[in-house]
């Protein structure tokens, strides 16, 4: 039985964990930025789904994964534009619009899939990994972490970019102020609308990219409802991490590893009912919530539209 657990299998499991974690990471990083700036972006599931669809379409039509990522990001961005206009510009209820957008994207992408792909189910060719020399030779870990698609490294890099933005730039200060006390940001001469709009658009872009990764690399195909609640998990991860991007990375990896663990346990033939095993990822996140959630105070103005001079 244990002869199954070869290095190849272990690194495939880890590889799978990374693949599952990347969309969550991108979505979580995006959501985190919205939340930091005071916008609760419940529409992120829809943005991911749209990104998955447009990303797949782009990659399929041009045969270029990178073009697909571009169109995926643009797809998410377009959906977030609606959120910007309605919720940031005009202060409509973020939960209503968020759910509305999610339902709409679910319906629209499934419909488009039906008319375009439901007879042919096109699939993309395998993605070329970017192999990092030396590191990729480490047994188990090497092939899992250092033979990934370039976008994976970029996603991890984004964690540090986000950290840099939050800690070391005016934009970071603006975002935090927009979430904690938008009026103070406004009177110091920074446009709250623009700051929040930037955050929401960034969220849409990242979520779209995450969706595109999921469709183009995670699955290699688009099927309706492919995101399966990943956007909502992104929300949980973002809230759990509060302001720290590294925590989104940790949360996403924990989730991904738990998913792989469920596969490992099954392959090992450990006779626990599959359904029980499959609760592990959720239990893990819940445990993290209980352990670390206490510190996760949310921005004071989260979910509250800003209106200049209102009392």
């Amino acid at each position: 039985m244990s002869d199954l657990f070869t290095n190849v299998f272990l690194s495939a499991l880890l590889f799978g964990a990374v693949t599952a974690a990347v969309p969550l990471l991108l979505a979580g990083l995006g959501e985190q930025m919205s939340e930091k700036s005071g916008v609760l972006n419940i529409g992120i599931e829809g943005m991911m789904l749209m990104g998955a669809y447009t990303g797949f379409l782009g990659a399929y039509l041009t045969n270029s994964l990178w073009f697909g990522f571009l169109t995926g990001a643009v797809g998410g961005l377009l959906v977030s534009c609606i959120m910007v206009i309605l919720c940031v510009r005009h202060g409509l209820n973020q939960i209503v619009i968020g759910i509305g957008l999610t339902l709409g994207c679910e319906g629209l992408t499934a419909l488009l899939h039906h008319f375009q792909f439901s007879r042919t189910y096109p699939r993309l060719p395998a993605a070329d990994p970017t192999v990092i020399p030396i590191l990729s030779d480490i047994p188990v870990i090497g092939p899992a972490f250092f033979k990934q698609h370039l976008l994976v490294y970029i996603a991890v890099l984004l964690v540090f970019v986000a950290t840099f933005i939050y800690r070391r730039t005016q934009l970071g200060l603006n975002l935090q102020a927009a979430g904690d006390k938008p009026a103070a940001l406004d009177v110091s001469g920074v446009d709250v609308f623009r700051t929040r709009a930037f955050a929401v658009l960034a969220t849409g872009t990242l979520a779209g990219l995450g969706g595109a990764y999921m469709a183009n690399i995670g699955a290699g195909i688009f099927v309706p409802f492919i995101t399966n609640g990943a956007g909502f998990l992104g929300i949980v991860l973002a809230m759990l991490a509060r302001g720290r991007p590294v925590w989104v990375l940790i949360g996403a990896m924990v989730f991904g590893i738990c998913l792989s663990l469920t596969t490992a346990l099954q392959v090992a033939g450990i006779n626990i009912p599959t359904d029980l095993i499959q609760m592990i990822p959720f239990l893990a996140v819940m445990a993290m919530l209980i352990m670390f959630g206490r510190r996760s105070t949310l921005p004071a103005a989260l979910g509250i539209p800003y209106e200049r001079g209102a009392r």
Partner: protein
């Protein structure tokens, strides 16, 4: 004799999945056409409550309503009782009622058994995988029979079993991820069952090399994916449901509806293995002989529907 004017079929997903839903819809259409009657298709209804649809179809004058999902087998007999319109259901023979409720619990286990034999013959790495996106009874019986077939052919071939996740029917990414892990664990043939997620499995098979560096093959179930194949589809356990529906129409006409069970089987090719160019002739010939043995009863394959028993079987196989 009752007049049969139209039959209606209700499916949870669109009938374009090269699988369960498509086989149902296509079968119903073909049977209706053959009988010269109308076929009404209500597809993509989801796994929720279908009572409103059943009532509307009954009101609309359907002569028979085929509830083509095990999840519909509580609602449909109730509506039959309420409206007097006959229904056909799956996976619940005990609900049969003359003139009102017929059951067509189909099991592809005999076909899956043959698929298992074939997989064991062809596996280079001496390991095959079963990946499923859920554990409904009809899939369980095929998973079990496949494993039994493998073991019967060659006890040294390992069977690796993995479920993607709860309600992961549309989780194509999960399908690909889990399949890749199973391939990495050594499998070079994947027996895959799942709706949307099975396309992720197919994708994994197409883009991943087996541990020996060779090609990985995919064995599908119920439908025929060869129109969209890229040369990795080894076979499929095909269910042709048309004869079942045709028999139901006949029984309705003869007032014998609801008195017998319908099934598919190897004998009349309503259950068969798909022949693809990927199957070498000698293997195919051996499988054909085995098929005769199953038909004749020389080989007995018992269906196993319980998920726990299926899993137990997998660990047995490995030890």
């Amino acid at each position: 004799a009752a007049e049969v004017k139209s039959i209606a079929i209700l499916t949870p997903e669109e009938g374009t999945d090269y699988g369960w839903n498509q086989q149902g819809v296509d079968g119903a259409k073909a049977a209706a056409k053959a009988a010269g009657i109308e076929a009404i298709v209500a597809q993509g209804l989801g796994y929720g409550d279908v009572r409103p649809t059943l009532r509307e179809l009954a009101e609309g004058g359907a002569s028979l309503m085929i509830a083509h999902a095990s999840g519909y087998n509580t609602a449909a007999p109730e509506i039959a009782e309420e409206t007097g319109v006959p229904v056909a259901i799956v996976d619940n023979p005990s609900a049969m009622k003359k003139g009102l409720v017929a059951d067509y619990t189909l099991s592809g286990h005999e076909g899956a058994y043959l698929a298992g034999r074939m997989a064991a013959m062809m596996s280079r790495t001496k390991a095959v995988g079963i990946v499923v996106s859920g554990e409904p009874p009809s899939w369980n019986s095929q998973s079990a029979a496949f494993a039994q077939g493998v073991k019967a052919e060659n006890p040294d071939v390992k069977v690796i079993y993995a479920v993607i996740g709860p309600a992961a029917y549309s989780d194509a990414a999960g399908g690909k991820r889990v399949t890749e892990s199973v391939i990495a664990a050594g499998a070079d043939i994947i027996f895959g069952q799942g709706n949307g997620s099975s396309f992720g499995m197919l994708q994994a098979v197409e883009t991943t090399k087996a541990t020996d560096g060779g090609k990985v093959y995919f064995i599908d179930v119920i439908g025929d994916k060869s129109p969209i194949d890229k040369g990795y589809l080894l076979s499929s356990v095909i269910w042709n449901i048309e004869p079942v529906y045709a028999a139901m129409i006949e029984d309705l006409k003869n007032d014998t509806f609801g008195t017998k069970s319908y099934s598919i089987g190897l004998a009349d090719d309503s259950l068969k293995l798909l022949k693809t160019p990927q199957i070498p002739d000698d293997v195919w010939a051996k499988v054909q002989t085995l098929r005769e043995d199953v038909i004749s009863g020389a080989i007995k394959v018992e269906p196993i529907f319980e998920a726990t028993q299926v899993r137990a079987l997998m660990s047995d196989v490995k030890e």
